[in-house]
Assembly symmetry: C2
Homo-oligomer: 251 residues x 2
DNA sequence: GTCATAAATTGATTCAGGTCAGTTTTCTTC
DNA sequence: GAAGAAAACTGACCTGAATCAATTTATGAC
């Protein structure tokens, strides 16, 4: 129960003034690896975005949108964590990404969602009709640049994920994943070293191209080595971040 | 020598009217998996792009731009093949992408090239000052949409690459790579089944997260199985595309 | 709280692919 | 065309992760 509260704001979104400011649009590079690059939108631009947005809530394990569905809406995560996955013909699930506050969901290539998006925790998000957004962007070139940059950033992140996932062993992949989670989570604002794992081992395994058993063993290794400490299956304590980064081959 | 001629137009670009039409802008989705989606620019838009572009040539193994360099130019491949890679602290090379005619090179997140781009074959490309391009895009929202879609498409391709690379064995990865090359090469226009491999085994290995030996063995396997035939180290004949697609787990 | 079920962990075995070594082929330069 | 160098291939061996099986721990319903 504590864990859920850590991850999301559970209070109902009743009065509009009470909701947090639009995350991604206010700081599209909040999670950039380059901390110098933060691009802000003007008040007017934020207001215009809020005007076409609706705040929506999803409960744990709810589908936000289904693979193959007509992509009419774009979402911008406010709080909580989501994942996207495709279902293969043989029934396998293939996790393609995890989304955190400020991340953008649902942009598609050809008007069709390419993956199913599902809430892993209670989740709140801005929901924008794609058409309205496109119209807004068309009128405001600056807004467009923000989107381009955001996409570019995501592209780089996807490339980075490929490269690290492909060339590292299980221990390094898991170490890297933990660090990524740590940096992604809202709790990163306070400088505590607790990481919450809102997804199943199965999802992590799939995302990293490993088996669930390999995840367990890698966590065990990292714990034995004194880099982390497991506090139940959903929480980790980072004991030695310097060593973790080395284990993830970031150094 | 024959091979080089297959891949690139070697004649000097003297008279402007003789150069081929701007590839990507004319058909940004030429290599999309969804053949229905082809978005064309108007004559005016193409002319505007050509006006700010200069056609440049690179010889084999020439660096187009270096990692970390100030990203002042964006390139659009006309003919030839390029690769991008990062150099790791330990001297390792990490190949992040291969670029074909109509592909876009050099878009960066923060004004700095994130990888080195190198020509694998003689290469011609449109070279555009980023500033001019940005100004053009700012004035013409339609152009912007083209770029957004292109980026979106590349993002999906990167995700697809991750997913396939991570979950498949060596044989499947190599089969998939061969098919991707086949579909990417200019020769795909004629329906011949020859695939040219302009890059080294080392580069393929790195891109797919395998060893060079594993590439050799996988090619051997595919040849033994009657799916392909090796015609020297730089050329392959596809004998059974249906089976190749199955081997690549595309079906 | 107890029970039922799902998830996570641990151990034993197997196998794909990495590594190392050696050979053959191809490319380059004279 | 010949010689040297680089790249590609092949084989032998070994490591790391998948798989299978069993146990422990956590979660959710009552």
């Amino acid at each position: 129960m504590d864990k859920d509260n850590d991850l999301t704001i559970r209070q109902p979104v009743a009065a509009k003034p009470k909701i947090p400011p639009p995350s991604i649009f206010a700081k599209p590079f909040a999670r950039s690896t380059d901390p110098g690059v933060v691009q802000l939108l003007t008040e007017d631009e934020q207001a215009a975005l809020i005007a076409i947005s609706r705040v929506v809530e999803f409960r744990r394990h709810t589908v936000i949108y289904p693979e193959g569905g007509r992509s009419r809406f774009v979402y911008n995560v406010i709080s909580g964590v989501a994942e996207t996955y495709c279902l293969l013909p043989d029934g396998e699930r293939r996790v393609s990404s995890f989304l955190f506050p400020s991340d953008l969901l649902g942009l598609s290539e050809n008007g069709e969602y390419v993956a199913t998006a599902q809430a892993l925790t209670p989740l709140t998000a801005y929901k924008m009709p794609f058409e309205d957004l496109a119209r807004l962007v068309r009128r405001d070139p600056d807004l467009d640049v923000v989107f381009l940059c955001k996409l570019c950033h995501e592209l780089r992140q996807a490339e980075r994920h490929t490269v690290t996932a492909i060339h590292n062993d299980a221990r390094a992949r898991v170490a890297g994943f933990i660090l990524w989670l740590w940096r992604s989570e809202v709790t990163a604002l306070t400088d505590d070293t607790t990481v919450t794992l809102p997804m199943l081992r199965h999802d992590i395994a799939d995302y990293l191209g490993l088996s669930t058993e390999a995840i367990s063993r890698a966590l065990h290794q990292l714990e034995t080595g004194g880099l982390i400490q497991r506090r139940g299956p959903r929480a980790l304590q980072l004991l030695n971040i310097q060593e973790l980064r080395r284990a993830a081959r970031e150094i």
